[in-house]
């Protein structure tokens, strides 16, 4: 397969996954901002939403104050923000079009349909119900694409690069959501687990569609370290860092087997997978969740570079 084709597939998957995550972050912010301050805390929910997408610097450069209008516009519709939902869908489709023949017909129809549908949406002066509808359609588009890939793609290199893109992006986004919330929620000297931040932690679970899963696994009320445990270490939780890395390791091994050659990417993925499997959440909190997640984000990005060097260029 052409390196460019693999590169397009990888980024196609990443951008759709990114759009999905931004939609989730905006939904959670929308919900929290509708609550009285006494429930949601005094933090600026909108600024934390931007921070969770990893693009606070980009937003501050616009000079706007963070409120529902400015953040919604920046994260959902802005053509100048390369990671806005609209830009992500645009870039995803551009990548998909370049590798049209490496995709199955259903996949192409799904991304092209989403693009045709979403590009018509005019974000200006949109009512709340309109926003909810838009975000719902973005999530549906990514679900449809995931399903189309899972059901119709040949289990071969094209599928593997697609999966790598999804998982690397998903791990990155999960880590960011957890990190930013944790950070903003924890003013100096504040006791974690006080009554005030209950809704904030619940909102993290809601963002990643994991409330029910949380209750099934832990059978108790929402606790910060258990939320972190679920999203970082729980193998059974499909978007935890551990689960993402198990998928990444497995996929890279399949690629290595198909090509008859292992490389730095396989070794790095295995190391990270082992580290996550051996960690326990008590130790992680002991040495600092923020430090742990920051290091993870750096290593995740480094693995992305290793995959690019080994296969995509």
């Amino acid at each position: 397969m052409l390196s460019r084709t693999a590169d397009n597939l990888f980024w196609f998957a990443r951008y759709v996954e990114r759009a999905d995550n931004i939609a989730r972050i905006l939904e959670a912010a929308n919900r929290l901002s509708a609550m009285p301050i006494t429930y949601s805390g005094a933090t600026n929910e909108w600024e934390s939403a931007v921070a969770a997408t990893g693009n606070l610097a980009g937003f501050r450069a616009t000079g706007a104050e963070a409120n529902s209008d400015t953040v919604l516009n920046f994260l959902a519709f802005s053509p100048t923000n390369p990671s806005s939902i609209k830009s992500c869908i645009e870039t995803a489709r551009f990548n998909a079009r370049a590798v049209r023949t490496a995709l199955t017909a259903v996949m192409w129809e799904s991304i092209n349909g989403a693009w045709l549908d979403l590009r018509r949406v005019d974000g200006r002066n949109m009512r709340r119900s309109g926003i909810d509808d838009f975000l719902g359609r973005v999530k549906e588009a990514s679900l449809r694409l995931d399903g189309a890939a899972y059901r119709t793609m040949l289990r071969s290199e094209a599928y593997y690069f697609f999966v790598l893109g999804v998982m690397l992006e998903r791990a990155d986004n999960t880590a960011r959501i957890l990190d930013v919330k944790y950070h903003l929620l924890l003013p100096e000297n504040a006791e974690v687990g006080g009554g005030l931040d209950y809704f904030q932690w619940t909102s993290i679970l809601r963002t990643v569609s994991a409330q029910t899963a949380y209750h099934w696994v832990y059978r108790q009320s929402v606790k910060p370290w258990l939320v972190a445990d679920l999203l970082v270490l729980k193998q059974e939780m499909p978007r935890s860092l551990a689960a993402c890395y198990e998928a990444i390791r497995e996929t890279l091994d399949l690629l290595g087997r198909e090509y008859g050659r292992q490389g730095p990417a396989q070794r790095m993925a295995r190391t990270m997978r082992t580290k996550l499997a051996n960690a326990n959440i008590g130790d992680v909190f002991q040495s600092g969740l923020h430090e742990f997640l920051t290091e993870f984000l750096v290593e995740n990005a480094r693995l992305g570079e290793a995959i690019a060097a080994q296969y995509l260029s």
Binding site: L2, S3, R4, R97, T101, F161, L255, Y259
Partner: protein
């Protein structure tokens, strides 16, 4: 032009051989059902053809070329003769190109004036003296044919650079077979779906001698912004080969490689859909970002076959076209089976005199022009325009050729007012391999949808039809 030859109807209710099934279908099917089928065709085509549209963002709607459901039919007898003529013509063109870039005997023999070749921008002096594998330069040709009556087919134009349109031939057939299965079942239409296999066999056969027995083939495209990109990806898909852009390729020690997830992979045959000028910035246009530096050197070293070869454009030049019948006689020692449209070369004094006398009934074309620019349509022009043009002709006779206005044949076509005859042409595709010449029965029929119009180009309201070859 009411007197034009209609390929279906001889007299009311009487049709030419081959059209019986279609005539019965048109007569027996109620008007509403025909309309329904027509709407269905439109829908099917939009769905299959949606890929034509999506590439053109804002002007998406315009990119779907109108499709007419009534097929254009040739009998096997007519086709066999056409195919013989096409194959003869392309064989001669290949011999001609081998000679022009070799010993140039045809120029020494005085058949064609040397300066007509050497001063022509389509001639590539860089390629003189270099052999190409199997001595074949035109592997893929699209020859534009028009018909004027029961007997006569004329070659209007040879396209031997990077001819396009074959994806329409294939998709038109797919749509028609889904739409009118019964009509197909009784008409026994010769298939065209083996085109991709034929093309693959052709490309494999011209691999360099040093290539492995299963050579690696790739299709080189200028990229998604090119208007024919859909066809490029469609063909790559059907051929089962990689669709590459210039940036996917690298040249090392005169061998060409594509960058793959397994590392560089050697390419033996490159079906290129990029014009000569943009192929290699080291040899041709240095500002081209589409091509591959070093590609021409690799081709000259014989380590890769380019299909078509560089420099084939000299053979489909308008001025050189007039000599193709002589080219056929010179290299093959045969009489041309297909005729050229009679053409006066204004560079010759007798012809010039005739053309000046008959401007009111001729079409005069500038040799270097294309797309209808620099053209005089005598019957439609005012006497002032004609006088002006006559002055240009006298000043630079070498730059012009003249042809009679042909009465192109018509085929019944759906139009707003019902079914009416419309003018058509035909572009069959001729594949030349080291082993043999292959022509799939049919081709792309283009139809001028405006009444009386002779212009079939899609940019000017032209549409397409499925082309059938049937027994009869």
């Amino acid at each position: 032009m009411p007197s034009a030859f209609d390929e279906m109807t001889v007299a009311p209710g009487v049709c030419r051989p081959g059209y019986e099934g279609v005539q019965k279908w048109l007569a027996d099917t109620p008007r509403e059902v025909l309309e329904l089928r027509r709407a269905e065709a439109e829908l099917l085509f939009r769905r299959t053809g949606i890929t034509f549209a999506v590439y053109g963002e804002a002007d998406a709607e315009e990119r779907i070329i109108p499709f007419d459901m009534i097929p254009r039919i040739l009998t096997k007898t007519e086709w066999d003769r056409l195919a013989l003529g096409l194959s003869q013509r392309v064989r001669a063109i290949n011999a001609f190109l081998a000679d022009l870039y070799g010993k140039a005997e045809i120029l020494k023999a005085g058949i064609i004036p040397a300066e007509l070749i050497h001063r022509n921008p389509s001639f590539r002096p860089e390629m003189v003296g270099f052999k190409v594998p199997h001595d074949i330069r035109v592997m893929i040709a699209g020859i534009d044919i028009v018909r004027t009556d029961d007997e006569h087919f004329y070659v209007l134009e040879d396209n031997v650079r990077t001819p396009s349109g074959v994806s329409y031939m294939l998709e038109n057939r797919e749509v028609m077979m889904r739409l009118l299965p019964d009509l197909f079942a009784e008409s026994r239409v010769a298939p065209v779906e083996n085109y991709a296999d034929d093309l693959l066999a052709t490309l494999k056969s011209v691999a360099p001698a040093s290539a492995p027995s299963d050579p690696t083939i790739a299709l080189l495209t200028p990229g998604p912004f090119n208007s024919a990109y859909y066809e490029h990806s469609f063909l790559a898909d059907r051929l089962g080969v990689e669709l590459v852009e210039g940036r996917d390729l690298l040249v090392n020690d005169d061998a060409v490689y594509m960058r793959t997830t397994r590392g560089p992979q050697r390419i033996d045959v490159l079906y290129r859909r990029i014009d000569d000028d943009f192929l290699d910035p080291l040899t041709f246009r240095p500002d081209s970002a589409l091509g591959v530096p070093g590609l021409i050197a690799a081709a000259r070293a014989g380590k890769i076959t380019l299909a078509n070869a560089v420099g084939t454009g000299i053979a489909d030049d308008k001025a050189v076209y007039t000599y193709i019948p002589d080219v056929i006689r010179f290299y093959l020692g045969e009489e041309p089976i297909l005729k050229n449209v009679p053409t006066w070369r204004c560079r010759e004094p007798d012809s010039l005199a005739y053309v000046l006398d008959h401007l009111h009934e001729l079409v005069v074309k500038e040799v270097a022009g294309s797309g209808g620019y620099g053209m005089l349509i005598g019957p439609a022009a005012s006497s002032a325009t004609r006088a002006e043009f006559a002055a240009k002709l006298r000043a630079k006779p070498d730059d012009f050729i003249a042809q009679p206005t042909l009465a192109l044949s018509t085929v019944p076509t759906f139009v707003d007012s019902g079914i009416a005859p419309r003018h058509v042409d035909l572009r069959p595709f001729v594949l030349s391999g080291a082993d043999k010449v292959r022509v799939v029965p049919g081709g792309l029929t283009r139809v001028a949808l405006r009444a009386g119009s002779l212009v079939v180009n899609s940019s000017q309201g032209g549409g397409t039809k499925d082309t059938w070859v049937v027994n009869g």
